[in-house]
């Protein structure tokens, strides 16, 4: 543990010294990570954690193949081929993120305790469920190596390991080979004392595909930075982000898409719902490189403000280098709940309070529907429905077949 403490101290130092992101506008709308002082933070016991994991598995009806926790040894299913990396620090720092690229990556590399490389080929299990349940500020590092011609569907649930202050963080890389497909679903359902940090970097080779769905529901503060690169010809990146905030939750969500080769496709759809005094800074940046004939890039950011004190800064941005036949669009729109839509619902006999919930739920469902894994979709849907009904987060409700999605699929 000594080794990690030293790393952590250095990491804090690095975090305060490294420069911000270079984009001037982005710097202006930048929410610095508020790292909690965990010196007196109460940790859970291993027994308490095991009990909580069991409860989550029961309620979500998900069996986790990999469980990451700082006080609980990495739990893994025998059906998953993984390589644990024992050496931390510089080796992974260079492998996943270079510290000069991003100060947060440097911080997270410094606090990293466990790193896992998941190698996936045509014969591996097609679905992988992962649970991140943290009690301190330990970061986890995961490298996915999806080999050529293989398909993998990953669902990652983030929850708080203790009821006291903690940091839930992960730094991951997705390497998707030729003709390979990866769907990764990240669901943050941490409680209101958890700071959530998510950094990822994805690269897709020729004809490969990444579908990334990020559901940011919990945590007092969320920092997310994702670099997704359609690196090979005909490759594609589809990213969806759903952010639901209330009370004083803060979100700083940055996604960078790159079209590096010909006939590549990148697409980012982001939806934000903010209530209370919550705040969200949303930065979607698309870069279309030179000589990328036939490239397509789109960024759409949509927000609904429920209360007067909630605030969204939506900043879609694009950079297109000289190239023929490239299609690139970006847009952003934020509004309160559509009054005409509300009147329509209410005119059918539904009370206004319920009508509002239906409208918000429908807005959120648009984004959740991009999750292809039906079980994960139901878990995401139940978390959101619970929040709409009970105005809380960080709690898992029992997933029942009565969910809206099941009903629709029956038709």
């Amino acid at each position: 543990m000594e080794k990690y403490s030293i790393f952590r101290d250095n990491a804090f130092k690095l975090y305060s010294e490294l420069p911000d992101e270079l984009n001037e506008l982005y710097t202006r709308y930048y929410l610095p990570v508020k790292l909690p002082n965990l010196a007196e933070s109460k940790q859970s016991s291993v027994e308490e954690l095991k009990k909580r994991i069991e409860e989550i598995e029961k309620k979500t009806m998900m069996k986790f193949d990999l469980i990451f926790s700082d006080i609980y040894e990495l739990s893994k299913s025998e059906s998953v081929t993984i390589n644990e990396m024992s050496s931390l620090g510089k080796e992974l720092e260079n492998k996943i993120f270079k510290s000069e690229d991003n100060k947060l990556a440097a911080f997270m590399n410094g606090t990293a305790k466990k790193a896992v490389v998941i190698k996936h080929n045509k014969n591996s299990k097609k679905e992988l469920n992962m649970l991140f349940i943290n009690c301190s500020d330990t970061a986890f590092q995961v490298l996915f190596d999806v080999e050529d011609d293989s398909k993998l569907n990953v669902s990652q649930i983030f929850t708080s390991g203790s009821s006291d202050k903690n940091v839930s963080s992960v730094l991951q890389e997705f390497k998707v080979g030729k003709n390979a497909e990866l769907e990764v679903n990240v669901i943050n359902n941490c409680d209101d004392k958890t700071t959530f940090i998510h950094l990822s970097k994805g690269e897709v080779e020729d004809n490969g595909k990444i579908t990334a769905n990020f559901i940011y529901n919990g945590g007092c503060f969320t920092k997310s930075i994702n670099y997704l690169d359609a690196k090979g010809e005909n490759s594609s990146v589809n990213a969806t982000e759903m952010i639901y905030g209330s009370i004083r939750q803060e979100f700083d969500v940055n996604t960078y898409l790159t079209n590096s080769k010909k006939h590549t496709k990148t697409h980012l759809e982001t939806g934000v719902v903010l209530d209370g005094e919550s705040r969200c800074v949303l930065k979607g940046y698309a870069k279309v490189d030179k000589w990328t004939k036939g490239a397509f890039s789109r960024i759409n950011e949509r927000g609904i403000i429920i209360s007067e004190k909630a605030h969204i800064d939506a900043l879609p941005d694009m950079s297109i280098d000289y190239s023929d036949e490239v299609s690139a669009t970006h847009s952003a729109a934020t509004s309160p709940i559509d009054k005409e839509a509300l009147f329509y619902i209410v005119s059918r006999g539904i009370e206004e309070k319920k009508a509002r919930k239906m409208f918000i739920s429908s807005f959120i469902n648009k984004y959740i529907s991009s999750i292809k894994n039906p079980k994960t979709k139901e878990v995401a849907s139940s978390i959101v429905l619970n929040r709409l009904e009970n105005d809380n987060y960080g709690i898992f409700q029992e997933v029942t077949p009565k969910d809206v999605w099941s009903t629709q699929e029956k038709v």
């Binding site: 559509d338 009054k339 005409e340 839509a341 009147f343 329509y344 619902i345 209410v346 005119s347 059918r348 006999g349 539904i350 009370e351 206004e352 319920k354 009508a355 239906m358 409208f359 739920s361 429908s362 807005f363 959120i364 469902n365 648009k366 529907s369 809206v404 009903t407 629709q408 038709v411």
Partner: protein, 241 residues
């Protein structure tokens, strides 16, 4: 259901749009309001339904003798009033079935078995020549103009109102769809003794319906009233004479 509108004045953002309308619709009667664009027809329909942005400055709307001026739209719907929207809103992500089931539950307060509910939906969709695949989709999302209008009529069947206000049910419909919708509404009105108010610019839909009363609205007031013969007069002379 009996609807009485007495000397109704309505404002939108301080501008008077409805300027003293009087209208009585008795149970089981079919009335038609015709008139040029901007004459206040849709505002009148939305006011009856209780649109929050429309302010009644004078007059009363009575249902079976009781004023509904202060009732919220959902309370009016529970009384049995239904408005078919001229431009139905699209709500992506809100399943049509889920919406209909919730609305039905809110109005009737009697839970219906899923199987029974689906059977009713499928049968009505067939009668309306509405593609079955649409009922599994989001509310009006990506629907054509005609599909939206048919979906409104499907909602009317599910909610079984006592008074239905159809605001331009004919717009966006081709001739075949127009016949289907008009005949469907006509038969439901007769079968259920539903009071009906149809708002339209054109007489075409009235060839397949049997209204007893025609009202012509212009500049916020009803300027002429009569029977079905008034339709032919409008067809020949237009609204200006």
């Amino acid at each position: 259901m009996k609807l009485e509108i007495k000397n109704l004045h309505v404002e939108i953002d301080g501008k008077e749009v409805v300027k003293g309308v009087n209208l009585t619709i008795n149970e089981g009667e079919m009335h038609v309001i015709m008139g040029p664009n901007g004459s206040g027809k849709t505002t009148l329909a939305k006011t009856i339904m209780g649109h929050p942005q429309l302010k009644i400055t004078k007059g009363e709307i009575l249902v079976d003798g009781t004023s509904i001026n202060e009732l919220k739209p959902n309370e009016r719907a529970k009384l049995g009033i239904f408005l078919q929207f001229q431009n139905p809103v699209e709500i992506e992500g809100l399943g049509l079935l889920n919406f209909l089931n919730t609305a039905r539950g809110a109005i009737t307060e009697k839970p219906l078995q899923f199987k029974e509910f689906m059977s009713e939906i499928k049968s009505t969709s067939k009668d309306l020549a509405l593609k079955e695949e649409l009922i599994g989709r989001s509310l009006n999302h990506g629907f054509s103009g005609g599909e939206k209008k048919k979906t409104e009529i499907l909602q009317m069947h599910v909610l079984k109102p006592k008074l239905a206000i159809l605001d331009e049910p004919d717009s966006g419909l081709d001739i075949d769809a127009l016949k289907v919708v008009a005949k469907n509404v006509d038969s439901m009105q007769k079968e259920k003794k539903m009071s009906l108010l149809v708002i339209t610019h054109y007489s075409r839909i009235l060839n397949y319906m049997e209204p007893q009363f025609i009202h012509v609205m212009r500049d916020g007031v009803i300027v002429k009233e009569g029977g079905k013969e008034l339709i032919h007069e409008i067809e020949e002379k237009g609204y200006n004479e």
